[in-house]
Symmetry: D3
Subunit: 236 residues, 6 copies
């Protein structure tokens, strides 16, 4: 009996990508907006944080599953990247070791890649910030990688319980990173932009001093739940 | 435009399961053996720990994706469980709240379920241990759940970067939890049992005082890597 | 202007305690039961864990606020302890240093104290287990304390966001630690025992194979929330 | 027997606040100065961190105890806020879910609220920074809240072992957050400003090259503790 | 210019060991006793925990510095081990991967090694417990090692800020792990046994109901520090 | 028998330092470059982080081993510091308490000290950033120190498993902190600068669109490891 396909290491050359313009537009609405708009799904978790401030990107995922402490497969992935992609990397076991630095960023920038999402570590923070290449990562570390273990490119991977398929949309900003399934991209954009529009109206009302308690109907809800209003603590 | 399928909450009634006997046999070889035998894949991570000592199980996954702090979907999942299953639960955001206790265990035991894997929290530890129902969990907590938010049963979920599909094999013991893809089950059992057999021979040699350094060929490797043997530190 | 009372270090000799029998009876229902019965309140958090297995206690709190790494005030607190008390200790800043070991346990056992809840660290685990003195703690450490800094005994303290007043009921077992306000003790016991009784009935039904989905009315809820039942994944 | 008061969900309309000017002046001296000046008390812990750099605020606490993942009670709290307040929110169990974003900030800014202290998560970081609304929080997350569970406003809450009563003073800056009891506010300001004045003198001496070792009398202390001065390590 | 000695990978064959009997006797007094007796030094930290309960060992350190995820050097170290040794392993960067399991334990047991201290991960917990080979470790994981990177044996290493030299004494039990410098071994035993003897007397007094507050002189200390005794909280 | 030298508290007045110019030049190449250039050693770990952005320093270590929560020995260390030094502080047990603030920084700046590396906590972040004194630390906290316990200055210390000897080179920037042994300084500078030079060439090639996959020879490696290139996922 031979080993099944899952045990092979592969690089998939051609993937179906979400539309690049749609991906960029989704990213522009902000990661929290997208997450909320598609039904509170796709958040990669609070431990994947930006190394820079105020970056906001949207793009299509090229995925890498690497061995901890080994970035050989990132080198293989670069060739598969194109304008509008976001590279998403994770490892088969937890590790803080940096798998990415300014040289790889230089390479990705020549191909029009919009950013990196890293489930392990990165380094060369100062250089990355100077280059203006946006990165979200779980760790920052001086500890660098070897190039000794095979892995795969453009297979489904998962970070903190969220599955990322190659070609999915990645939206990332100061709040974190959200993945949107490729098949949902157009719908997600519609939902996200509708939410942005709705929030504009809400923001105007709130800035004018109206209370969400009133116009959302929360006051009724508090009553239904039996929350009591007391004039002072001594009324308890 | 209507919402895509991914945004629906569903309970899938019929799933294709790995063979129950194969699943049990895989579990019996031990989670680390399986993990190693299939190419170092499938480990759910070092933070999913047993609440008991010395339990070892193998079974087929029934999966639950729940809202943090809400166990409504576990109630829905029980009906889908059968003899030989292992219930695997995770939440859409990190949470320590207990979604499982001795009452749910009682229900699962009547259906022949072999154990629980929980990405959030459990409680009633003393009762669970007394019942002899094996549990692996990320948290233990008194904080109990509500039953107010929909989710899904028997869809693909992920824990710490490992995807678990309904019907996959779960192997769990004191070392942690490993998932094996359903399609790989027969091959994985073959590999795992071969590894157990090989290790028997190795164990006998080691117990007789032979050095792995010699019979594995590591001594040559050390030489190739330039590791120097010195008689004392003063030879440095 | 002189300093306010909050800045003084005090030992309060006489505190009003919840009834000792009530406290013991509350503890006997189990920490998760109590927590649930009083409205999901009072859980000291998932990082306060038992050093032993299967202990279950209930008692009245004598509280200590200590300086990190200093157990002088525990010595002062012992004199204030009586039969049926539980000593609850926390520090003014996070610390792993052990403030408690087998000698202090020996002292507490002569006074009939039922256990210790520790927000910092303990040591002498083997001896404590041999003595059979139950302990719940945030850390285990060899690092011992000095006796150089004042603090207070029998003032209100807080652990992980839960306030513990001297004389409050402490319920602790394998699930963790729950605090019940003294004024609520009788009511909490009534609620907890009612819950235990109700669960007996539920357990019998579940053991007989009935589904909570049916007798709790959750099936209706799933329908209301729009959860769809599909025969197979291909129906998606 | 009816449930006790602690089990009710309440919104307290009128609270006694520390003087707004005093609260602002306390904040201006810096959180570490205040903490030190009042006897090393009131620090909310190293895991409550600012989302911005170089903000420094002082104000009076309006408190919220919310269910994890649910921000209904923040909506209720806004109505209770006035010029000079700081909103302080925590949850009944640990959670990373965001309970606060830019819309709620807009609402609070119209009422003159000076900032937010959050024991769970926030989102819309980029917008909050653009609005200039200062926030200290335990987590940043895209994951948003529901509005389905009651809680309380303006009751005593606790974060990391520090009790915050409504009306207490909150001082927050890059070092973290400190709470000062309302009754201590005037005294705390006096102590804090005295400390600032003293430190000015010390700073001048240190900048001139004098050694704290000398003018604090630490040299004598080192001698008393038996610390030995050796010319080189070989004198050991 | 050639690379300096620190950059070479070496295996030191002959090390000076503390006396085996002294090492065993030190271990028998308990890790916390030793730590305290030698001046509160040498504790390897609260995150190095036993996989078993109630084991207590003392022995002489054979040290390994390994690459994360690679246990080649443990194989090299076994040959250097002798009766009475304890193997102490750490890695050049943080890692949860298991570097040790039951086969290596079998090998070590044939040479009379008393236990393992591991700064990364171990697996085969059930087998190790069955073998009765005591292990203290930072992580438990199914994830196994490769044998592809050189490192060193019997050079000084450090775990959590404590330096361990080859030949030093290791004392380990349920409280954790303490290292004693070889040159201090005889003195450390003397100090530790004196402490045990002293504690015997103290224990007898405490068991008889005497208060440490009195016979330690802490009461005077409380007075000196200005701690006030109040009859009730209302005296505040 | 008297206590051994290791149990004494000492301040070593004269240490051999690496050359100040070499130390500065090493720092200028960046911490990750140094770490890589000397064989992936010396990284103090991913939890020692800068409080500022874009600082980059190199200097010679003056070391402090302090009691948790006590900074008496930092006061003693200042006198031992000179132009070009970096102060490196750790504690005998884990602690978040701040041992350093703007006053100590003022003192160090008058002596030409280039920065601080702290294994516990710091405070006065806003002031430190205003002063422009660079700090890398494990924690930020308002909680301040006492000055009541002896320790040592200029003895070997360890942070996260890396030993720092007085006089060693410290290189620190946004990636973290690396220690280089004094005896290796000249060699390390040579290696680091060679690496910087090599990377310049590589960067130019990558910026021109060449693939590391080609010019590093990784393509051959992927083939050797059996990584398969597939046109689409359906070829699996």
């Amino acid at each position: 009996m031979t080993g099944p396909i899952q045990n092979r290491h592969v690089v998939i050359r051609t993937i179906e990508r979400a539309d690049a313009g749609v991906a960029a537009a989704i990213g522009a609405t902000g990661s929290s907006t997208v997450h909320e708009a598609i039904g509170r799904r796709g958040f990669l978790g609070p431990d994947i944080r930006p190394i820079q401030s105020a970056a906001r990107i949207g793009g299509t995922a090229v995925t890498v599953l690497a061995h901890p402490g080994d970035n050989l497969m990132i080198h293989a992935a670069i060739e598969m990247c194109q304008e509008g992609d976001v590279l998403v990397v994770t490892t088969t076991a937890p590790s803080t070791t940096a798998l990415f630095g300014d040289l790889l960023a230089t390479s990705l920038m020549t191909r029009g890649v919009r950013g990196l999402i890293m489930g392990a570590g990165v380094r060369d923070i100062a250089d990355l910030n100077e280059l203006g290449f946006p990165v979200w990562t779980r760790h920052i570390s001086c500890q660098g990688p070897v190039k000794d273990t095979p892995g795969s490119v453009n297979i489904p991977i998962a970070i903190n319980g969220q599955v990322i398929n190659p070609g999915d949309v990645i939206a990332a900003d100061d709040d974190g990173v959200v993945v949107v399934a490729r098949a949902e991209a157009a719908w997600a954009l519609e939902q996200s932009e509708a939410r942005v529009a709705r929030e504009e109206g809400t923001r105007a009302k709130l800035a004018a001093g109206e209370l969400g308690l009133d116009f959302y109907g929360h006051r009724k809800r508090l009553e239904d739940y039996g929350v009591q209003y007391l004039d002072t603590a001594t009324d308890l």
